[in-house]
Each structure stands twice: as C-alpha cells, then as structure tokens.
C-alpha cells in the first residue's frame, strides 16, 4: 500500500493570470495532501515546475483578446502517474515545441525546454482552433 493506490482529480476553468497560477499551485498542494506526499517530494516538485512553465505559457498566449472561452485545466493522479491537461484558444504552438534552452544572456524562452526535461511526456495537439497540452510524470 502506498500513494500509488490513491487517486485524485481536480478540474477548473480560468482566464486571468494570477487566478490561473494560484489555482494550478493549489491543485498540486491538494494532490500532495491527497496522496500523502511532503512539500519537498522531488518528483512532484519537478512536475509542479513543469506545470508552472506550460501553465504560464497557456495563460500568456492562450487567451487572445476577443476570445471568450476560458482555459480548461484538469489534474489527475492514478496508478502512480500524474497527468495535467490544459486547453487554450491561442495560436498553434507547433513551431515552439522543440525550442532549445537559450544561452545565459537570454531573459526568456526557457519554459518549454524546462518542461520537456522534467516530464516523462509532454503532449501537444491542435484540435480545431484549440491547443491541447498533456503533461505526464510518474511520481
């Protein structure tokens, strides 16, 4: 018996930056509690870091002016694997997916490279006019 036997689900929609970031961190905090992981649990900390990067990108680019649809967010934990799903209405993101880590002088452009390196899988698909992101990590 361990945290692998436990399951967890969280759903939310949001549009604002501060609200969205708060909700995503709150969901991770609830997951920690639900599956009995401490604040310093390494794999969950890495997952939260990746979620902060992708979630931040989605909140910045996924809610263009004139689009009323909020960002949809879901967090699930089952059989030791945590999966976060985010859907947004921003422009297609294919061109950015394989971006390398920029040099030390650069003040931006590290988010996707960080997320890719911390997750077991970072899924992306364009579904009509919606971007769907899927972040997967075994804890």
């Amino acid at each position: 018996m361990g945290s692998d036997r436990k399951t967890f689900e969280f759903h939310a929609t949001f549009s604002e930056l501060d609200e969205g970031l708060d909700i995503m961190h709150l969901s991770i905090q609830r997951l920690r509690k639900a599956v009995g992981r401490g604040d310093d649990d390494g794999p969950l900390l890495l997952f939260e870091t990746a979620l902060g990067e992708i979630g931040g990108n989605v909140l910045t680019h996924g809610n263009p002016p004139g689009v009323e649809r909020p960002i949809e967010y879901e967090l699930r934990f089952d059989r030791g694997v945590v999966v976060a799903s985010l859907s947004d209405s921003g422009l297609p993101a294919h061109d950015h997916l394989s971006r390398d880590m920029p040099d030390h002088e650069s003040e931006s452009g590290r988010g996707l490279a960080i997320a890719r390196s911390l997750l077991d899988d970072l899924g992306y698909e364009r579904d009509g006019d919606v971007n769907r992101w899927r972040l997967v990590k075994r804890l």
Binding site: L21, D22, L45, G52, H104, S106
Partner: protein, 114 residues
C-alpha cells in the same frame, strides 16, 4: 499571490532585496521594479537577492534575475543569490544558470567578501 519585495542596506553597503511569494510570471515585474528602483536611487551596486521567502521560481522569474544581473554588471555592480530553496536550485541547475549566479546558503554567506 502577489510577490512582495523588501529592500534593505547591509552594513557593508550591499543592497539586500528580499522577495516573498512566487517569483514567477506574475511576480517577476515586482522584483525587476525593486531592483530598478534601488539602482535609480543609489546607482549601480552590489545586490544580494535573499530567496528565503521565495516558494517557487519559474523561467520568467529567472529572467527577471538575469535582467537585474545585466543591469548591475553593465555599471560595474554585481549580484548574488542567497538561500534558494530546493525547487529554485533545480531550475538554476537545469538551465545551467547556477554557473552565472553564484548562490549561497545564507544571506550572511552571500554578503561575506562581496
């Protein structure tokens, strides 16, 4: 959760900037502003960012630290980080920015010899 930033002067003249909260996409502008204010007031200088109160760092937060470092070094100043938590250290090491920002376990250590 807004980032709150306090600034103080250490005995050796180094400016200590202490953010509290998440140094992320939402919090980064507050750190940038605090460092710009300090530079505007006293000119380019040596700055220690006390990370003890920072619970989480993302790449935009790191970007604000890089911006501060560039601003300070362009005027012969410099920057050190103190007391980053486990998550911040992971991000610094992953991005290899730990080679750019020397980081110290405590503010006192960061102030020593600075």
């Amino acid at each position: 959760m807004a980032l709150e930033v306090e600034t103080r002067q250490a005995d050796n003249g180094v400016t200590v900037v202490a953010p509290t909260g998440r140094l992320d996409l939402a919090g980064a502008p507050a750190l940038k502003e605090a460092i710009s204010e300090a530079v505007k007031k006293d000119g380019p200088q040596r700055v220690v960012i006390d990370m003890e109160g920072v619970s989480f760092v993302d790449s935009t937060g790191l970007g604000s630290v890089i911006a501060a470092l560039k601003q300070l070094r362009s005027g012969q100043g410099d920057l050190r980080l103190a007391a980053p938590n486990q998550q911040a250290r992971v991000v610094l090491e992953l991005t290899t920015l730990d080679q750019v920002f020397p980081y110290y376990a405590t503010v006192e250590e960061a102030l020593t010899g600075f």
